[in-house]
Every structure is written in structure tokens, then in C-alpha cells.
Point group: C2
Chain length 394, copies 2
Amino acid sequence: MDVQFAKRVAMMDSSVVRETLKLTARPDIISFAGGMPAPEVFPVEPLRAAADKVLRTAGRTALQYGLSDGVASLREKIAARHRAAGMPCQAEDVLMINGSQQGLDLASRLFLNPGDLVACENPTYMAALSVFRGYECDLLPIDTDEEGMVLEDLERKLAANPRVRLIYVIPTFQNPTGKTWSAARRKGLLALAERYRLPVLEDNPYGDLRYEGEDVAPLRALDTSGIVTYMGSFSKILSPGIRLGWMVAAPEVLEKLITAKQSTDVQASTFIQMMVDTYLADNDLEENIRSLRALYGKRRDLMISAMKESFPKAARWVRPRGGLFLWVSLPDGMDTTALLPRAVEEKVAYIPGRSFYAGEDVDNTLRLNYSNATEEQIVTGIRRLGRVLCSHLG
Amino acid sequence: MDVQFAKRVAMMDSSVVRETLKLTARPDIISFAGGMPAPEVFPVEPLRAAADKVLRTAGRTALQYGLSDGVASLREKIAARHRAAGMPCQAEDVLMINGSQQGLDLASRLFLNPGDLVACENPTYMAALSVFRGYECDLLPIDTDEEGMVLEDLERKLAANPRVRLIYVIPTFQNPTGKTWSAARRKGLLALAERYRLPVLEDNPYGDLRYEGEDVAPLRALDTSGIVTYMGSFSKILSPGIRLGWMVAAPEVLEKLITAKQSTDVQASTFIQMMVDTYLADNDLEENIRSLRALYGKRRDLMISAMKESFPKAARWVRPRGGLFLWVSLPDGMDTTALLPRAVEEKVAYIPGRSFYAGEDVDNTLRLNYSNATEEQIVTGIRRLGRVLCSHLG
């Protein structure tokens, strides 16, 4: 075949995530590369019971088309959960989507023209970078420190770049760094976004997975002007294989998101939505989250102790208070992309930090996931990785 | 909120389909508007058993992330079914998507730049028009007759419009007209597409629902140069509420579709794919299709007899040999959009034909669905609609 592809195809990332997931499929490799939950604690039996109940009692409804915005009772449960956590939210503010990745796509469709700029944390979620680039947009990386985006840098860059059309942030347990924004930075970001009339896309798949410290309100809870579009997901607190997430947005934005959702794939699965709705009615999601917190907190601690034992002394990391990832910095001059094949030879995998940077290439960082591997794999895998890193440094 | 939306937002159709589905939710209205299957024949129990088996035997895998291209054994079953029907197809030629609507979106992403033209049958599937317009493209309507696109018209328009980048067709039991292309026209279309190096997007959600006559090979089965990208769906032969369909394409196209799928929403639900894979292993899909053919064929016949009794003599339609729709033409000067509110007052609904035209507005046509309503509803609803049409003509 000899046909012409659209311009955006050249911008579409070759699939780092997909190649990564392929690595993890090799059973002899201990992979810290993906962002997968621990399958051994999926609430399989409660979800089976929910699926069974839905198909026994409302099978015809579950297997039929439904509305594009989603199943009403599920939207209400999600809204109620947000309200309980201090975010004003009604059922009609919620749109059901296929995981929050789809929210990135729908929001891009709404807000971005080719040639626009997206201001984002640097580093940030690599698959978000792919989405924005696929919309033929450039990234405007903003400096970050321990409290979030450096607001002076954001302001300076917004003032200098009138083509910025969207600000994308993961304020809680950021991917890949694990950092959480302070309340002051959150308020400061909103003030700047309002001043520049820029929509803010808040990605919060990890917010519930806190292992220590106090909850911080999401941007959407602090937003008085409807400037924040929020994305939540069941992937990390229930199951990613069901592909279910949601967006919360101002009415005039949500209406357009629903139209975009409908045009994209009509609606999220009626059956999956009813299954989750039934699960939430018959089970305590918070209990499931508590058990994930206990497990992942333990794995984080174990990974950090293992790293202390086997990583080179010059390696640096910040202990994340939640989320799924440890972000490691190695001495200047080390190249984690070049090292990856050597790590895979030693049967351990990670993601080179370079994939997460919006601007300059940074070669001496890497991301480790601690939720998916068992305790034994964490100990063995970190020892293997330590050997690779030390032998390269030594 | 006072932010700027992207240019494409102005092109995104307000949602005819969604408003339509809202109408159908009113229990007092007999709706022939949607394109919904008959819920009373969904294989609820076999699908329940499949869901149960998957979650009992492979729950952790089903609830976890999977590969973006889809579950291998399901892709193989789909490929084998295509091969059995004469289409060369291997598992690796298949991408699992959330219903064929998503195929329209992914193909548009691959092939269309803003300002491009899409050649299509006129009238055609209205939600496809929305997708192409959402990509800031214009439609190039091609004349059709009883055998499909008029090739002379297509050739003349391709020669005159170098901005055409894609040809979109529903060659079997077309939506909305119910027409099926002849084999000669299919071959002629492929020859023209090859000459102009234009990809062809073949949408085939209804091909299995044939009530009389012989099967005609899909374009993809006749395609020797890989120019056809094919979309299939479980929505009309199994269940639309599971949101599962597939694409078949040449390797260099499929690879890019997978990248686009991943960026859009990572993957189709692992659980849903495994449920359908198990259903296909443990049940006879062809048996389910045979029962749908019997039921829908009967409903088509019943609707046509009811129309003969109560519709104005000047109304015209072609008896479709398959699919879900009857396409009705009324005398010039009648306006089915203006009549719809009067029909709804009489508690019957249809879709005005105007929504399906890519070019000029045509006011005197309407589309009726005969798969979703019961026999009793068909008789009562067509009588009501006949009264509205006759009173307006009289």
C-alpha cells in the first residue's frame, strides 16, 4: 500500500509503554517498568459477584446501548464520593470514560489546535506527552521543586508564550516523581490559570493511594471558576482491565466532552459501568483502598531498603508519600537508556527517565514501580539492578 | 469559565444520536429512531456464564492491563472467522477496539488532516459524518444507485478534488438506506482507490444480518494491495453494551492504528475481551446470528406490511435484504424534520433523513429501525406514524 498518512502520524510516539508492557510479559524478567497494580489483591470475587448479579437481574439493560454520559447511579456514587472528600460535585458533572487516558484525549480534542503549547510539569507522565504531541502540540516544560510547579517559572513562561492553551498537572503523587504539590502552590496555580484564562487538566489516578501524611484537596475542590477539568480512574483502586474512569468538569465543558466521547466511541461499556456500580453498592471501596495502601506502603519501604543496600552511594531518590513510583537520580554522565539492555540481560527492567521529559533530554534518571512486583521480586530485582548500576559506575 | 475551545469544537455535531437515544428512553414512545438490537434475544445467560468462568479461572489476568492490540486468542478467533468467509486474515492483522465507532475515530486520526475531503455515499451513517467533521474535514458526497456508489460520479469527483484523502463506505446493508453493493461495483471502487492511492474505510457492522439472498464478499476480501481498512463489531451480533469491535488492516496501517489506540485509551477492556473469547469458545455465535436473522427478518416483513396498510400511497421504500433499517422517501415538499415533533406527540419516533446527507439538505426522507421494537410495537407505531404522514399529506 502506498497511501499518505496525516501529519499528526509523524508526531505519534512510537510506543514506549507498549514496548515496556511487552518486556513485562517475559516471565523471567522482574519488571519495575510498568505502572500496574498488584493482581493478587484485585477484588476478583466481589467483582465476579457483581458481574453475576448484574447479568442475572438486569442483563438486557447491561448488554444494551446506554447514554453517552454514563450510568446515572454510578455517576451519582462518584459525585457523592467527591463531595465526601470536599469537592463540590453532582452526578451531572461526571462523564464516564474508558480510564483516564481517554480523558487526556478528549480534553486535547476540546482545547488544543495544532501548534498550541501545553504547559506541564517536567518530567511528567510520558503517555500524556504522546497524546499532546499527537494533537500536533508542543510542550512547555515548567520547572518543579518539592512543592510542585515553580510558580515564578510558570508565570514567566505563560507571559512569554501566548500560544499556551492548556496546563496539565498531576498534583498528587506525581508520575514519575512521586511528588505532591503543597496547598499554596495549588492555589497559586489556579490564580495564574484564571489570570491567563487557561484551562487546567488535573490528572489524579493515584490520589487515594496515600501511605502517610494528610490528604491535600485536589485542584478541582479549590476551583471556584470552573477552570479545572478533573480526571479520576478505577484503574489503580479497583482494576485497570475493566477500563473505567471519569471526568469532572464545568457544565459548558462537560457538555462538549460528552459530544466528543460520543463521537469517539459512543459510551463506556454499560455492563462494566453497572458491574462497578453494583460492586460499589455491595462492597466497601474504601476498605479495598486501605488494603492497597497497606500493601503498597510496605512494598515502597522494602524497595527503598533494598535500594539502600545495593544501589551506588551516589544514587538519589525522594521517598514518595503515596502513588506507585520511585524516581531515582544517578550521577551526571550516567545514561539509563543505554543501561536498560544491560539490565534486561540481568533480567530486571525499569523505565529510563528520558521518556518523561518534555524539554531537554535528561539521561541520568529512571522510574521504578513498586506496586506490581512481589516482596521477593523486589528484593531480588533491586539487587540485580544495583549490580548493573554499580558495575557501570565502578 | 471563559476559556477558548479548539477550532474543531465548532465542527463537532450537536448530538443527534444522543438526543435520539434520550427519546427512546421515554417508555410511552415507540421509537424506530435508534439502531438498537432486540434486547430480548441477547444471549444473557451464555455471556453470564462466560463472565463467570473468566473471573473464576483467570480473574487476575482479566482485571489487569493487557496489550494494546488485544487478547491474542480472541484476535485469532476473529481472524479465523474472516478466513472461513473468504477474507485472508491472521490474528496479527486484527486490532480490538471499543465498537466500530472507535474505528472511525482512529482511521480519521491516521488519514485526515484539517481541510481534507472524505468521499462517502450520500446519504450515509450520520455519526460517521460527525467524526469526519470533528477532524475539520469536509465530505464529498458521491451519487449512489441500487448497486452502490455510481463509479462514474466517484471518478469524476476524485479527478476534480485532489484533497480527497479517504473513501468511506458501508457496502453491505448500508445505513441508512439498507442497500448492498454489487460485486462489480466493489471491484470498480477498489480499482479507482488504487489508481488514486486512496485508503478505503469499510464499515461492516450489519454484514452478518442477511435475511435473504447470497453473501457478497467484503471489500477487504477483494483487496490485493492492502488499501482497505475494515471495521467489524460485536454490537449487532452479540451485544452493544459490551462495546467491542475490531479493525483489520495492512501491517503498516495496523501498526499505526495500535499506536493511536494506545494513546487514545490504552486498550479495549481485558475482561470484556476474555468474556467474548470464552463465549465464542463455549457457544456457537453463528447459531445466535441465525436466530437474529429469523427475528429481524420477520420484523422487517411485519413493518413493511404495516407500512403498506397505513402509509400514504406516495411513500416509497426499498425492501432491504438485511441490516436494521428501512429508508422511506415521501413526496417532494414534505419535511420529516418538521414532522418529527408531531410524530412524538403521537408517541412514535424516527430519524429525519436530513441527518444522513453529506451534501445538500434533503427533507423528504426518514429512517426506521425494525430490530428493536416488538411485533406489537411495530404494528401500533407504524399505524401512528401513518396517521401523522397521511394527515400532513391530506
